[in-house]
């Protein structure tokens, strides 16, 4: 009796995974989500702060990733591509918040919805305060500051992730830091005392 060759469970390479999705292989999209959902969610929370819209935005991220998967060149660039799309979605969400005058993570409606969010009790006060202060600067400045100081990315990495030149990143980050410092230096602006003290 002849039997089949062994099947060993080996994680597909990113290039194989991209090809499998393009070929419509069953379970391939699930595999991509399983592999990158944690990373995407963490990045969204790092840039936006924990909130009830993170799970919806994560769906948006993967929708866009699948939509433009054929554009990834080379296919091994998948992780960086997921990061870039996540940051794009994040930036749009930040702009939307500003448009909706959700100027602070501590702000009225958003805070109310936050209390209904699963795991809301796990959001510490200082994290809320930080994102509350960040909410007062531009979306681009928020992204740059969180990527540089919270996510701990190097300037070169930020440039790749945001698809900007290194010099643009340096220039915009310097401006973002200045904006935040000026904001926190204004005694009329309500921010958490510990944050103002730490930055002075």
């Amino acid at each position: 009796m002849q039997v089949a060759p062994p099947v060993v469970a080996v994680e597909r390479s990113c290039a194989d995974l991209v090809r499998a999705i393009a070929d419509g292989r069953p379970g391939a999209e699930r595999e991509l989500i399983t592999r990158f959902a944690g990373h995407g969610r963490r990045l969204l929370i790092r840039t936006l702060g924990p909130g009830p819209d993170v799970d919806d935005l994560l769906q948006e991220v993967f929708f866009r990733v699948f939509q433009r998967l054929h554009k990834i060149e080379p296919p091994d660039a998948l992780p960086g591509y997921v990061t870039t799309v996540t940051l794009l979605v994040s930036r749009e969400a930040l702009k939307k918040r500003r448009r909706a005058r959700w100027l602070s993570f501590l702000g009225g409606d958003e805070l109310a919805s936050l209390t209904e969010h699963r795991g809301a009790e796990a959001v510490p006060e200082d994290v809320r305060a930080f994102y509350g202060a960040l909410g007062k600067v531009s979306a681009q400045a928020q992204l740059l500051i969180t990527l540089r100081y919270v996510e701990g990315l190097r300037l070169e990495e930020i440039a790749v992730a945001l698809e900007l030149s290194l010099s643009t990143v340096k220039r915009h980050l310097a401006r973002a830091e200045a904006d935040l410092a000026a904001l926190l230096g204004d005694d009329d602006v309500a921010v958490a005392p510990w944050l103002r003290g730490a930055l002075r």
Partner: protein, 406 residues
């Protein structure tokens, strides 16, 4: 004003650490929810594109489509052409049922066979063989890619002719090659078959669990029930978590069974004992869950229910079985079967006392019991919820249920 950079870095580190603690304390992303969201967004995008296309383009497409259909001369009943909605289940009663596709490929269902055309792509399609025998003749082009799914098996076709027979009760796939080569893959097999050959594959344990008969309770995928109206708790008699009978060998380990094989030239060499041992590490039932998810996301509730029930039968007492029960509850809820949904959620609560699914199921049970007017039950569940998950997502609702009944 310049900002003291070290201070900002310190703050960033502090925020990152606190954020990570918050992340650790919250449930991770649910892949099913993300997949469902992606499917919803795709549907929305499609509708948006369709709206933008406008009436003129639509009319042109319809005209061209009709012309193409007529030119093909395949207008007899049961024939699927590119101009007709090709996706969906098909069943051949007493006569063979041909399915013709725009690329010239033909799939003929033998009497009694059931297929589900799940996806039609530009260079192929995905056809699930639910039961019975189909005669497949795929027309080859450089980009051709067809998949015939049968249970956990996937027969990949690029241009060939073969018969495939799927027996879901026995978990057996038989492939009879007439022309060309196909690749058969599944939980315990990955093999190329070339014509002429005839081979039967089975990755199921010897004691194959009947499809859509998960366990004694719930007895049906659509309406779980027990004498008390709720499934028996774990350990109380034959529960949904009862393991299947093990006959002949370890029922937890899939074994490749090749029956009535007529080895052909294209059949690959055998495997070693070590290879067989490594293969048994592959999770069993995961593919069934995947297929159930696909069916659910594609809107095939009936197929999804059967597959979730099958997944529970394949992997009783596991996290997959709990997840399948939860999604059966969701399907019942979506179908307006409030009682059925509540009973499936109760199964989840009995089989998994902790974790996000148990938490969510308990919260949903409160809502469903309340909706059915079972105030006392809803109140008892609300109390149970607040004890187990005082800060859970349904805690506000649970408190409101208790407050309302005071």
């Amino acid at each position: 004003m310049s900002l003291p950079r070290p201070s900002l870095e310190q703050i960033g580190g502090r925020v990152a650490a606190a954020g990570d603690r918050a992340l650790d304390a919250t449930p991770g992303p649910d892949v099913d929810v993300v997949l469902a969201g992606v499917a919803r967004l795709r549907g929305r995008a499609r509708r948006r594109r369709a709206a933008l296309a406008g009436a003129a383009v639509t009319a042109l497409a319809v005209t061209l489509g009709l012309a193409s259909w007529r030119m093909r001369g395949d207008a007899q009943p049961g024939v699927v052409a590119a101009t007709q909605p090709a996706v969906g289940p098909r069943h051949a009663e007493r006569e063979p049922l041909p399915l013709d596709f725009a690329d010239g490929t033909r799939v003929v269902l033998a009497p009694g066979a059931t297929t589900d055309v799940r996806e039609v792509r530009s260079h192929g399609a995905q056809v699930a063989l639910v039961r019975g025998t189909i005669d497949v003749h795929v027309v080859h082009t450089d980009a051709t890619r067809w998949d015939v799914l049968a249970g956990d098996f996937d027969v990949t076709v690029t241009g060939t002719r073969f018969d495939a027979t799927w027996d879901p009760e026995r978990g057996e796939l038989t492939v009879a090659m007439k022309e060309g080569t196909v690749r058969v893959s599944g939980p315990c097999v990955r093999e190329e078959l070339s014509a002429p050959s005839h081979k039967t594959f089975s990755c199921a344990p010897a004691a194959t669990v009947p499809v859509a008969t998960p366990t004694s309770a719930p007895t049906s995928a659509t309406s779980p029930s027990s004498p008390s109206g709720l499934p028996a708790p774990r350990g109380a008699g034959a529960s949904p978590a009862s393991p299947p009978r093990a006959v002949g060998h370890d029922a937890d380990k899939p074994a490749l069974v090749v029956k009535a094989a007529v080895p052909a030239e294209g059949v690959q060499a055998g495997e070693s004992d070590g290879a067989r041992a490594s293969r048994t590490d592959a999770p069993k039932g995961a593919s069934t869950l995947d297929r159930a998810d696909s069916a659910r996301l594609a809107g095939d509730s009936r197929g999804a229910r059967a597959l979730y029930a099958q997944a529970r039968a394949e992997r009783p007492g596991t996290a997959d079985a709990v997840k399948a029960a939860f999604l059966l509850g969701r399907l019942a809820e979506d179908a307006g079967d409030v009682g059925g949904a509540a009973r499936w959620y109760d199964v989840v609560c009995h089989e998994a006392t902790t974790g996000p699914l148990a938490q969510d199921a308990l919260g949903r049970m409160i809502e469903l019991e309340q909706r059915q007017g079972h105030t006392a039950t809803a109140r008892a569940l609300a109390e149970r919820y607040l004890v187990a998950h005082p800060k859970g997502p349904h805690s506000s609702y649970a408190r409101s249920v208790l407050d309302a009944s005071r």
